[in-house]
């Protein structure tokens, strides 16, 4: 027994003892606990990426790039593609907007995607073979995502595509100035390298035949057929579907549109069509849209880019007639419910070509004689949890099924369908996606995040853009990508800033070492709450003490 442990005796004869003998933890009425909450970026990502996770690895610089990319492709096998074309709802949700500007997540995703292609990193090897065979119908983002994830789970996958090249809307709908074809081809090839077989120019015409050949079928045929509206038009008028023009351009058959082009519609396809028209030589490209800017379905960035390239928008207008090179436009007004109504006021506009971009429908001829598969509102109805159609073993994802018609949503649904197929093949029940607690902005302590504005990707001069189909946005270099990643505030997840450890007045937090985070010593923690208050990322909760 050392003198430190000696029991106290009376008066000055007592040797010194340490305060460690006294457990101040008994004073506590609330206790701090570390929590792991879902950040708004991931909750807002339809592809279901662990954005905070892969940004965290990117922060480490060169040593972390491959880990970051692997965490990314665990959800989405198309980082180089989506790093270009995604409308990045993650950034809209980002808590950093309260500090300065949102984190440029999309730019970092593209950097990781491009780096992986440059260095030839392969996708993870699939799990051991299950011997089961799955057919994916259609090779758009939903189909290829489903195929990739089904393959990862160990099943054999065949993708059948009606068109000559794989990629669906990524190949035939999105112009090359937004998505260079070599990038798309490389990311598709990498999926094929995992053992996914893609058969092009092979339309699937019978669901029964498909089910006879395969254990499960995933329908991802998309919505590639232009929706039509009736507009009285003279024989000399040139009216085309925007989606067909985009497809022809993508196939190398650029049509002649003339000098003045009108685009009818307000979605992203309308924006792509107008920007494409400018690149094909039209000096005037006018988008005619019947509602207002606030109601426009096109993403604001797409509209800004189009306007930046000289595209004009005629708001609150419908095309009522086309005669020769003259189109008649009726001015609209909104009623209290925000619905547009004609005003009886007409004006004329000259246009060599009218492009229709008023929506797209799914080609469902494949389902001609399958009554159990319910089609409503032009799309195939599925169970919201399993994505299975009315036919046992037939699943649907992407634009052919209900939901947002974006590539990122399609990728997320494709991955979900893969999980559902895997569960169905094993006769397991697929649990619903868990509801996660969000790391809201109110939980954060923004004081600790020094001001560090977003690194803007150098945009090509707007004037240069309309001369051709070269890519509009440049990528980030490694230094800028790391900086941008470090702007992530790690909402709701400890990133080891040492604030709790350094700021505990009672020395009651242990630092466990790199990557191991901290441990609270409840023998001494008095529950003052400073650690929770000063945690930058809101990763500590104070909960009532129950004794």
């Amino acid at each position: 027994m050392t003198s430190h442990d000696a029991p106290p005796t009376l008066g000055l004869s007592t040797g010194p003892a340490t305060s460690l003998a006294y457990h101040t933890g008994t004073w506590r009425t609330e206790r701090p606990v570390y929590v792991e909450l879902a950040p708004p970026c991931s909750l807002g990502c339809p592809s279901g990426e662990d954005i905070r996770g892969w940004l965290g690895s990117t922060q480490e610089g060169e040593a972390g790039f491959e880990t970051a990319w692997r965490r990314l492709v665990a959800a989405n096998p198309f980082p180089a593609v989506m790093g270009r074309i995604c409308y990045h709802p993650c950034q809209t949700a980002c808590n950093r907007t309260d500090v300065d500007e949102e984190v440029g997540i999309n730019a970092v995703e593209r950097f990781l995607g491009d780096t992986a292609l440059e260095r030839g990193w392969p996708l993870p090897a699939p799990a051991a073979s299950s011997g089961r065979r799955v057919l994916v119908v259609g090779s758009g983002p939903a189909g290829l995502s489903a195929a990739y994830h089904v393959r990862q789970l160990g099943h054999e996958v065949v993708v059948r595509e009606a068109a000559a090249e794989p990629g669906g809307m990524m190949r035939y709908g999105i112009p090359a100035y937004r998505l260079p074809r070599d990038v798309l081809a490389a990311e598709i090839r990498r999926i094929e390298d995992t053992g996914v077989r893609i058969e092009c120019s092979t339309p699937v015409t019978s669901l029964d035949d498909a089910q006879a050949e395969f254990d499960a079928v995933v329908l991802t045929v998309g919505a590639g057929v232009a929706h039509h509206v009736d507009i009285p038009a003279g024989a000399a008028s040139k009216i085309v579907d925007a989606i067909d023009v985009l497809r022809d351009v993508a196939s190398g058959h650029a049509p002649l549109l003339g000098r003045r082009v009108a685009v009818y519609g307000g979605g992203n396809t309308a924006m792509d069509a107008a920007r494409t028209a400018r690149r094909l030589g039209a000096s005037e490209a006018v988008v005619v849209y019947r509602r207002t800017r606030e109601q426009m379905p096109a993403h604001p960035t797409e509209l800004e880019d189009a306007v930046g390239e000289g595209v004009r928008v005629q708001w609150l207008s419908t095309i009522s007639q086309v005669e020769g090179q003259t189109i008649t436009i009726e001015r609209m007004e909104l009623d209290e419910d925000g619905r547009p109504h004609g005003t009886g006021v007409f004006e004329e506009l000259d246009a060599d070509t009218v492009m229709l971009a008023v929506g797209q429908d799914a080609d469902l001829t494949l389902l001609g004689d399958v009554p159990e598969v319910v089609v409503a509102d032009g799309v195939v109805q599925v169970d919201p949890t399993t994505l299975m159609t009315g036919r046992d073993g037939v699943f649907a994802a992407g634009d052919v099924s209900p939901g947002s018609r974006t590539a990122t949503y399609a990728i997320g649904r494709g991955a979900r369908a893969a999980k559902a197929v895997d569960a169905w093949l094993a006769a397991r029940v697929l649990p619903a996606e868990p509801v996660q607690r969000e790391a809201t902005a109110e939980r954060l302590q923004p004081w600790y995040y020094s001001d560090a504005p977003k690194q803007h990707r150098a945009e090509l001069e707007a004037a240069r853009r309309v001369t051709g189909f070269e890519e509009v946005l440049a990528g980030l270099d490694a230094e800028h990508a790391v900086f941008e990643a470090r702007r992530c505030m790690s909402c709701g997840s400890c990133f080891e800033c040492d604030n709790c450890f350094g700021m505990c007045p009672d020395d009651a937090i242990k630092k466990l070492g790199p990557g191991m985070r901290y441990e609270i010593d409840y023998d001494y923690c008095k529950g003052c709450g400073i650690c929770a208050e000063e945690c930058p990322c809101g990763a500590i909760d104070m909960i009532p003490e129950v004794r």
């Binding site: 003892a17 003998a21 922060q59 020094s450 800033c497 040492d498 350094g502 003052c528 400073i530 208050e533």
Partner: protein
């Protein structure tokens, strides 16, 4: 202050540490093996900023002195809560004598060590505002005047807290204490009273005087390190919110320090030989209300009749901002 700046690595200079920092860039407090000079089990109240500041100061001083540090402590909260007989929460050699004489005891230790040729052993004296600004001022002033080789640290919680929150000459105007109740025409501590210990220390023209808070660890560690690099009399004044005496939530001690600095109420400065050499600029300007409202001792300022006192607080903050150029408008 411009003297401590680390690169932006998710967090910047204001957080304690960060997983991406090089070891050399880390604060003393971010090291898993820091000295923890004031260890666990001390009886400071929940959220006590004095306990926190004392560990920060002492850990940095212990490192700067290569572990050879002797500490003399005045009577006060810090002494009472750390050394309940027979226990001690202190790891460095530590002595307590009387309320008034910590500076004199430290002077004696320093003189004795010097006589023995042990100048490698450094001496630190510390106390609260009572032991420094009131009861111990004569000894502190003498130590300054003789330029004894001691770093004196005052943890200013603005009152006699462990004896039941009585006023001291560091209690701010209008604050309610047990001896300055919030009643009458001029509730709380009277305006126009009290002392500024930083200005008193500067008037002695000693080699180094600085003020700091628990809202900026890097700044505080830098000032202790600077003070330890100098010989002679040095003075560091640290504002330490007291949840019990101030009537604030225990979780708010750092937030209140931050508000005190960002509103201009507590200027964070550095002075050498009586001359102001550096000032911490306001980063995100806060209104005095952000500092005052969370404290029950100022509750009467936010009731009818409190407008006048509140206006005087704003005037005080504005005067500090002007005097110390806290917004950096003159430079």
């Amino acid at each position: 202050m411009t003297t401590v700046h680390i690169p932006f690595l998710q967090t910047g200079t204001l957080a304690v540490g960060g997983r991406l920092l090089d070891d050399a860039e880390r604060s003393v407090q971010s090291h898993a093996d820091r000295p923890s000079s004031l260890t666990k089990g001390h009886r400071a109240c929940q959220g006590c900023a004095e306990a926190l500041a004392a560990r920060w100061v002492m850990d940095t001083a212990v490192e700067a002195a290569d572990g050879k540090l002797v500490v003399a402590n005045a009577t006060g909260c810090l002494e009472v809560f750390s050394t309940l007989y027979p226990e001690s929460a202190w790891k460095p050699p530590w002595i307590h004598s009387l309320f008034a004489n910590a500076a004199a005891v430290a002077t004696g230790i320093a003189a004795s060590l010097h006589a023995q040729g042990r100048d490698d052993v450094r001496v630190l004296a510390q106390g609260g505002d009572g032991g420094t600004v009131d009861i111990g001022l004569a000894a502190v002033s003498g130590m300054f005047e003789r330029n004894d080789d001691v770093l004196y640290v005052c943890y200013d919680n603005q009152g006699y807290m462990n004896t039941g929150v009585q006023r001291s000459s560091a209690t701010p105007a209008s604050a309610r204490t047990a001896t300055t109740p919030a009643v009458g025409r001029s509730p709380g501590q009277a305006f126009g009273q009290g002392k500024s210990m930083v200005k008193i220390a500067m008037a002695h023209e000693i080699p180094y005087v600085a003020s700091a808070t628990v809202a900026d660890l890097r700044d505080l560690e830098h000032k202790v390190r600077t003070a330890m690099s100098i010989r002679g009399a040095r003075y560091l004044h640290v504002l330490v919110p007291c949840p019990v005496g101030w009537g604030s939530s225990s979780s708010q001690s750092i937030a209140l320090s931050r508000a005190a600095v960002q509103s201009g109420i507590f200027p964070v400065v550095e002075a050498r030989a009586g001359e102001l050499t550096d000032v911490q600029r306001i980063r995100e300007r806060a209104d005095v209300e952000e500092y005052l409202r969370p404290q029950a001792r100022f509750a009467h300022l936010f009731k009818p009749g409190g407008e006048d006192a509140l206006a005087r607080w704003r005037a005080l903050a504005d005067a500090n901002i002007r005097r110390y150029d806290l917004l950096g408008e003159r430079s």
